[in-house]
Structures are given as structure tokens and as C-alpha cells.
Symmetry: C2
């Protein structure tokens, strides 16, 4: 029961992934995965804490070496989850949380089938729209585009292992903790237990 668990928290933008993950990692048994990126560090960002900053060549070499659990290009920069870092944390017994997009989640499951995929859903699409509008910062067109994408992503929830509906943050966090506890108690993960 000593190895940590890789938990992928994914779901549509606006479901509250950031808040829920922020609460989860307050517990010392949990660690947040640090991404690698080719974008330049911003003011106050530290290499190895916020991101692993890489050149495009370094990043491409990592891709060639299968050193990513998943990666994607976004606005001309690469972002990815480095596998060696995740493995090290798991070996230390930490539960590693990965907060990523829906597509990336499936990439992770292919690379590491023992990963646990949690779909974090808003209570409803109507409530998601309220939340996006409530921010008051997005143009109507952006909201429409996000809602369309959210509706598409919601249709994929059945491909995940678990679904947690984020009606209350505290409840969602406690649900994910229960999932982690239960997964670590699965006999599949404890074949070598010795009762002698």
C-alpha cells in the first residue's frame, strides 16, 4: 500500500478544477504535478516549482524519449507532464494530482493505465453558464464558445473512472479523497501484501 496514486482531475472549464485541486494539495500526502513548458518564465515564477522551463529543442527531445505522460501545443508554446517527475513522486508514496484538459486525460490513461480519471462536473450546464457569466469578464462570444465545448466534453464523462459533481467544493474534495482511499484499498493494487 506504499506507492502513491496518480489522480487526473479533468472536466470542462468553469467546473472548479483549480479550487478543488488547491484544497486537495493542502494535505501533505498529496502533490501537484509540475508541468514542463517552452514558454518564458513570468515575473515570480521559479523553475521546478511553477513549471520546468525548457527550450523547444529540449522539449522535442523529451517527446522523442517518451518522457511525457501527455503534452499539447497551446498558443505557440508546448506544455506537458513529465513522466520521470510523476514516477518519482509516486515512488515516494505521494498521491500526485494532475489537473488537465479532457483530451490530455485520455493520453495519460494510455501511458499509465493505473491512473485514476476523475471527471469534475458542474451541477448542470445552466449552472456552468451562470458561473461563466458571473465572472463578468468574458465576451458573449467567448461564453458561447465555452458552453459549446463544455457540452461536448460533458458527453465524454463515461470514459472516466469516476464522476464528481462540484455542487459544493468541500463535498467534491471529500469525494475525491474517498476515491483515493478506496483505490489504494483495491486488491489489484495490493497483490503483494503479506500477513505472515
Amino acid at each position: 500500500m506504499d506507492k502513491g496514486l496518480l489522480i487526473v482531475v479533468s472536466g470542462p472549464s468553469g467546473a472548479g478544477k483549480g479550487t478543488v485541486v488547491g484544497e486537495l494539495i493542502k494535505n501533505k500526502g498529496y502533490a501537484l504535478s509540475v508541468s514542463a513548458t517552452t514558454r518564458s518564465p513570468r515575473e515570480g515564477e521559479t523553475d521546478g516549482v511553477n513549471y520546468f522551463f525548457k527550450t523547444v529543442d529540449e522539449f522535442k527531445k523529451m517527446i522523442a524519449d517518451n518522457d511525457f505522460l501527455e503534452y499539447a501545443e497551446f498558443c505557440g508554446n508546448f506544455y506537458g507532464t513529465p513522466l520521470p517527475y510523476v514516477r518519482q513522486m509516486l515512488d515516494e508514496g505521494k498521491n500526485v494530482i494532475l489537473e488537465i484538459e479532457v483530451k490530455g486525460a485520455f493520453q495519460v490513461k494510455r501511458s499509465l493505465p493505473e491512473a485514476v480519471l476523475v471527471f469534475l462536473a458542474p451541477p448542470s450546464l445552466g449552472e456552468l453558464e451562470n458561473r461563466l457569466r458571473g465572472r463578468g469578464t468574458e465576451a458573449e462570444e467567448v461564453i458561447q464558445r465555452r458552453m459549446k465545448r463544455a457540452a461536448e466534453e460533458m458527453e465524454l464523462f463515461a470514459e472516466y473512472d469516476y464522476i464528481v459533481v462540484n455542487t459544493e467544493v468541500e463535498k467534491a474534495v471529500s469525494d475525491i479523497r474517498s476515491i483515493v482511499t478506496a483505490e489504494r484499498l483495491k486488491t489489484d493494487r495490493n497483490k503483494n501484501i503479506n500477513f505472515k
Copy 2:
């Protein structure tokens, strides 16, 4: 997410099944399955509460009608878990706990594959022997026979879905609660969820 879950708690005699189950059913979302038996009611036992008391003919008709999740003969009497009763409780949204022997657990899984099998293990075989001896009521021969059987049963734990080591009752109860929470969040059990 409305249907209850059938949780089978099984494991070697002396692992503490009775105590753990007793704690679990203090929560109103949980119900203990009531067994049917052909043995006579004892002083203070009520039909439908402690057992469903049946004649041998009634019991045999129930077997023929596939009305049992599992059944067994013990000291000349039949004991079994009536399926209609369990189904009714599950439909009411209750988590039904079944505390049974290792063999019976596999019978249940065959009848109702959505049942969740939890193997409750003592911390070690040495500790189990201490507990059996600590009762001070069993003859040496009985202890030896129980230890042999326990060792055989322990080898079957990998056939279960989960393993909970009963080092502390409170921790074991909380582990089983986490398992129930997680199982009810599985996407397999929530295919018809509607976010509209």
C-alpha cells in the same frame, strides 16, 4: 446516483467483521441484510428482524425459485440471503451490508456482479491467533482448526474487490465508508446522469 450498493463484508473468523459491520449500520444510509433460516426462533428473536423464519419446504421452494443470493447448510439448518429483500432495500437507496463467509461472498458476486466485495483482514495471522486465544474460550484444537482455515481464506483475498486491514475498528469503518462513496461515484453506476 439513487440506487443503493450491496457491500459484502467477508473474511476469516476473528477479523472483527461483527464489530465493524455493527458500526457501519449505525449510519441511517446503511441496512443490514436479514437472512432466512430453517432453524427455530430463539427467545426474543422476531421474524423479519433477526431472521426470516422458514420451514424446510418454504426454504427449498425459495432455492428452486432462485430467490437466494447465497445459501448454505450449517449444523442441519439452512441459512440464506433472500434476493427480493436485498433488491427492495437497494431500490430504496440503502447501502445493504452482507456479513458472510468467504464461500458465500463468491456466490453473491455470481448472482449480483455489481456487488462490492470487501475482504476484512486481521493485521497478521499472528495477531489473529492472539485474538482467538485472548477470548480464552476456545480449546487448542479449535484454535488450530480456525487458524488453518483462516490461512486458507487469506489466500483468496485477491478475488475480492477491496482489502481492508482491521488494525483499528474506527479506521476500518472509515475505509469501508470511503469505498462505498467511491463506488457510488463510478461512471459505470452513473451512465444516466443528466446535466441539462
